[in-house]
């Protein structure tokens, strides 16, 4: 019986790493943007935090775009 253990290992590692990276970007982005909102509600300025937060969310968005690139066969 032929079982492609190497492919299985690669799929496992890639699945876990990429989903963890996406979640970290999403959660950290949400945390920073929320913190900035709370700060500005209290009268402070959160320009730095908010832009960093949106940058992280932007990278998460790029990961989604990469996913769509993988799904659509016409792109590759």
């Amino acid at each position: 019986m032929y079982i492609d253990w190497a492919a299985l290992g690669v799929v496992t590692i890639v699945s876990i790493t990429s989903s963890v990276i996406f979640t970290i970007l999403l959660a950290a982005g949400i945390r920073l943007v929320s913190a900035a909102k709370i700060k500005s509600n209290q009268g402070g300025s959160g320009a730095m935090t908010v832009s960093l937060g949106y940058a992280l969310l932007g990278v998460a968005g790029l990961l989604v775009l990469f996913g769509i690139y993988l799904i659509v066969p016409q792109f590759h």
Partner: protein, 402 residues
């Protein structure tokens, strides 16, 4: 004449299978977002249906084989395909009635295997391929996706520990909606193509289409529309089990499990170890529950595992029985169609006894088939009649003592 009749029947039945495939797998993408309220039920199924249709039209590179190496391709004839499709449809409907997610591609393989065994004997099926391509992935998929989802969930909660959920929930809901849409699109490209492949192979075998050509435009559109309509109809019974039955899904948890599902599906599709979408998304929901430390209903998980292990023999049994009739010319095929209609009607009537639809999908975690439940009370559902006021107990009038 007979051959043409069989070919037309196979095409119709293939489209019916595609429809059941759609409503069986609607929940894979959309159970999470519906359970957390990231998408309203109607919006979610419309979105998934459109993405399924788009996905089906994008990917038309039809697989050269529908046997997946499980048996010799030369054994595939129109009657065998017909019997296999019937086995898969019946299995999909029965598991839908019970609210159990199970892989539609495994059901199709099971039906075909049953039909091939009846037609050409047990030795024609390659047992080791069943283990390496069907049984092993069914165990691996929930483990990989579950592990990924558990870690993602832990991280998501840890990172946003101090963020008030009023702020964080919106972001997580967006994340969930995007990942769910990716799953729906990927599902369209893989499963829509499956039906196109079946129809095209049957057309080629009947010399109605030159060998080596791709699916014709009407086949692409018909298959895409069938899977899209199936997805739109929602499969609410399975939606309830996955969104509510396994574990209560909170918003960050839903986003984490969505991320794990889409990452695992894409990785398995592009790195050469095929995993079933159904097994992956169920595993993610389970894992996310464990990662949050929530109470997982392991009894539901156990039932699903049994359903997965039974998919192949169950669909195979029906496929095998159907194969006894499917190669007996027009009368056999007509008899099969009548039996299919009867089976579908019976299953549909059973489902009516405890109807689940877009309005009540998230109201409970149970999918009931027979009347085993306590009847809903006024407290559960204010739309029911208000309870009757307790009647005044008549007291026997004290007889006046004369």
């Amino acid at each position: 004449m007979t051959e043409l009749f069989v070919v037309i029947t196979v095409i119709v039945v293939a489209l019916i299978f595609d429809f059941t495939n759609g409503f069986h797998d609607s929940a894979n993408a959309m159970a999470g977002p519906i359970a957390t309220g990231a998408l309203r039920p109607r919006v979610a199924v419309i979105l998934a249906a459109v993405l399924n249709l788009v996905g089906a039209c994008l990917s038309t590179a039809v697989a050269k084989t529908i046997s997946g190496g499980l048996f010799d391709d030369s054994l595939i004839t129109a009657p065998i395909v017909l019997a296999g499709l019937l086995g898969a449809i019946i299995w999909n409907l029965v598991t839908w009635l019970l609210g159990l997610p199970s892989s539609s591609s495994h059901a199709l393989f099971g039906g075909l295997i049953g039909a091939v065994i009846v037609g050409a004997g047990l030795s024609s099926v390659n047992g080791s391929v069943i283990v390496s391509k069907i049984l092993l992935p069914a165990i691996v998929a929930p483990l990989v996706a579950g592990l990924a989802a558990a870690w993602c969930t832990r991280l998501a909660y840890r990172i946003t520990r101090k963020t008030p959920s009023v702020y964080s929930n919106t972001g997580f809901k967006y994340g969930q909606a995007f990942t769910a849409s990716m799953v729906a699109l990927a599902h369209g490209t893989s499963d829509g193509q499956k039906t196109m492949g079946v129809i095209t192979l049957v057309l080629i075998a009947a010399n109605l289409q030159p060998s080596g050509t791709g699916p014709q435009l009407w086949v692409i559109i018909a298959a895409g529309v069938a899977i899209g309509l199936g997805t739109y109809s929602g499969g609410w019974r399975i939606m309830r089990t996955m969104g509510k039955g396994i574990v209560e899904i909170e918003t960050p948890q839903g986003a984490a499990s969505g991320a794990a599902t889409s990452a695992t599906i894409l990785a398995s599709a592009h790195l050469g170890f095929g995993l079933s979408t159904t097994h992956v998304s169920t595993g993610s929901i389970l894992g996310s529950g464990v990662g949050r430390g929530a109470q997982v209903r392991w009894s539901v998980a156990r039932r699903m595992l049994f359903a997965w292990l039974l998919t192949l023999p169950g669909a195979g049994l029906v496929g095998g029985l159907a194969a006894l009739l499917s190669d007996r010319g027009v009368s056999g095929v007509v008899a099969l169609m009548v039996l299919l209609a009867v089976a579908c009607s019976v299953i549909y009537l059973f489902s009516r006894r405890h109807k689940i639809n877009h309005a009540n999908v998230t109201d409970s975690h149970e999918v009931l088939v027979l009347a085993a439940a306590t009847p809903p009370t006024y407290d559960d559902d204010p739309r029911l009649e208000a309870p009757a006021k307790p009647k005044k107990v008549k007291r026997p009038k004290a007889k006046s003592v004369a």
